[in-house]
Structures are given as C-alpha cells and as structure tokens.
Symmetry: C2
C-alpha cells in the first residue's frame, strides 16, 4: 500500500468504511467489498479498489476481508494510530465543542492546549484541555511540539493567528473560520466551511422543490 498514491475522493471514503465496519456485531468475522458497497450505497468496484489500496493483506475470493484486520489496516493507513498533537485558538462555543469532543483521540489527534484572549476563560479548562492566554502561545505551542493548529476564531483575526501558528512550528491548519488564509506552499490548509455545506443543501432543496412543481 502506497499511502501517497491514493486519490482524494478515495481517501475521503476510507473513514466512512471504517466507521461502518465498527458498527458491525463482533460475530461478523469477514465481510465482502460487495456487502460494504450495498450497505453504504456505493459502487462495488469503487469500494473494492479503495479497500485493496488501504488493506495490507487483501481480501480473499469467496470470503472477503477479515473485519478486525481490515479495521486495523484502515486505522494504520489513515494515521489514526500515531498521535498528533494539536493546539486550538478561539474558545468560543464551537471551539469549546471541539475541545470536549472525545472522538478525535481515536483518530490519533490530541488537543494539548487551547488559547483565548478572554480573561474569564484563561486559566480554565474544557474537557482535559487547559485554556492559556494567547500571549503564551509561542512558549506553550513549541514546548508541546504541536503540528496541527485548529482555528476557531472570528474571520477578522484568523490570518494573524494563522501566521502566529506557522511561526511556532504548526504545519497543518484546520480552519473553521470563514476567512481565506494565505499560507506558504508547504503548509496544509483544511477549510471547514459550514456556509459551503449549507449552500449545497440549499441548492439541492431548491432543485427538488423545482422538480416537484413540474
């Protein structure tokens, strides 16, 4: 398996397979790509290709894949088993929700520190995460060796805080603000834009309403 040679759409589907496999009863020892495809409403060949790219030992004709092994392979492939330290800037409601979200740990990400400029929040904690003064960011971030930066601030300050992150060793930014961030070429940016999602839903809804009228 060559982790670097998988297509982006394919990579997006892997976590979906993984979470589906985890819902199977423990008595299910093996599963075929065909069955996974049927359950998730996907094309059979597509699932087979995806799984074969991520699986170390492959499936067996007539048997399919060993569920436990496939889960392990997917977790390995997605990097869920190597811990990645993350810091978060902006402890608003969304930031707080992410801090208390337990699901990240099993994806290999651990939020080691949070930052804000609000004195009523500084010094507190949410979940297991301490909230620091944003002025302590350079010291804390570097000391913790964090590589992922989660940005949950208003768009006005996003670029400035993004720059601050990059100056202190952050390599990948998970941007929950609506701001467009300018970063050097070698930095990873992942925009989580709720307006984009909502636009897709709006569009599909209007299309559907239009069809019904005809």
């Amino acid at each position: 398996m060559d982790k670097t040679n998988i297509s982006k759409p394919s990579l997006r589907r892997l976590p979906v397979y993984l979470s589906y496999l985890k819902t199977l009863p423990p008595s299910t020892r093996t599963i075929s790509a065909t069955a996974v495809a049927a359950a998730l409403g996907l094309n059979e060949v597509q699932v087979r290709k995806d799984l074969s790219a991520a699986s170390s030992s492959g499936g067996r004709p007539k048997m399919g894949y060993a569920v436990e092994e496939l889960i392990a392979d997917l977790e390995d492939f997605l990097g869920y088993r190597s811990t990645k330290e993350a810091v978060l800037i902006g402890v608003g409601r969304l930031g707080g929700a992410l801090l208390s979200f337990k699901g990240f740990e099993e994806c290999g990400m651990r939020i080691v520190a949070a930052f804000d400029n609000d004195p009523t929040k500084i010094g507190g904690r949410i979940g297991d995460v301490h909230i620091y003064d944003i002025r302590d960011f350079p010291a804390v971030c570097q000391q913790q060796g964090a590589r992922i930066g989660i940005l949950t601030t208003s768009p006005e300050h996003a670029q400035m805080l993004c720059d601050l992150m990059l100056q202190n060793g952050i390599l990948a930014i998970w941007n929950f603000s609506t701001a467009h961030l300018e970063v050097p070429e070698n930095i990873i940016i992942h925009n989580e834009n709720l307006a984009v999602s909502l636009a897709m839903i709006s569009h599909d809804l209007e299309e559907m309403m239009g069809k019904q009228k005809q």
Copy 2:
C-alpha cells in the same frame, strides 16, 4: 443561469467567492475573474466559468464584474435570499454551538426550534431558539413547516431521529453524527464528518513528513 446544471465542485466554490467579495473594501466597484482567481489561488478559467454560470448579467471585457451586483447574483443563486426553516435535534455542545451561530441567517437558514430529551435543557433557549421536549417534535416541526433537519446527536440514536424527521415533513438532513443514515432516494443527506476532515489532514501531514525525511 440554470441552477440545476452546475457541477458540484463548482457549486462548492461559489460560497468561497462570495465571502471573498464581501471582504473587499466598498470602494472596489468592479473586479475581474482574473483578480479573484489570483487572490484565492485558483485557476483563472475555472473562476471565470463559475462566475459566468452564477451571474445574471455577466462580466464586461476590460472591466470585470460589478462587485455589488455579483454579490447579489451569488446570493440569489445559492438561495441565500429565500428563508428556509430548520429544526435541530440534540442540544449538546456542538448543537449549542450551531444554535448560537449567527452566520446561518445570512445564508437564508433559520433554526426555528431545537429538541432534546434532557429535562434540564428542555424549556431553555440558546440564542433565539427555544428547546423543546423531543416528544413534541411532530407537533412543533409540522407547525413550523421546517424543511431542513440538523442532527447533532450520538450515532446510536441518529437513524431513529432521522426517521422521525422524515415522518414530519423534513426533506433535507444535515447530519453531524458519524452514523450512516438510510433514507429514501428523494431525501437530501449532507454528512458533516469531522473524522473525514481529520483523516485528510493526517494523511497530508504524514505525506509531508515523509517527503522531508527523504
């Protein structure tokens, strides 16, 4: 402009253009697709095609697009100017964050009611939104005529609550749980899966680390 004949990737970019245009100083009367492409790091022809699909009157050679008009066209095209009622089930931290998020209104979505089964939450409100007993869902949802359902519950109950939504007139489900939902063909599902995003980031990070080692 034919709203139904735009590609999905193109549709995803429109809100990005829109939010960029809104950051321009009011003195900027016109802007070229070329300039937008440069600012957002996108291909010039792609931007031109996207804008020409969404714009009602088109751009003018040597001038570009009238900013104000283009903003209006994009908002129209994306359906931001028609109000769509939404209900939300699951007032946890994430649900609460969405309820207090002010940005949805300007995308044309209004959350009219929230539901939970926790007695300490029922009867309260977050932002402007009242929190109802989940048992009142059928009555309230139908009375409000909501068409969008936001699902922010644990995955275990997601399918059941999804079914409840569909039984009461919901046509589109914005699913923030990790559960895979089974729905009839004509229902719109949009999955907001943080694990998927995280997997992308993890993968890109590992790839980058790998390259650096070589």
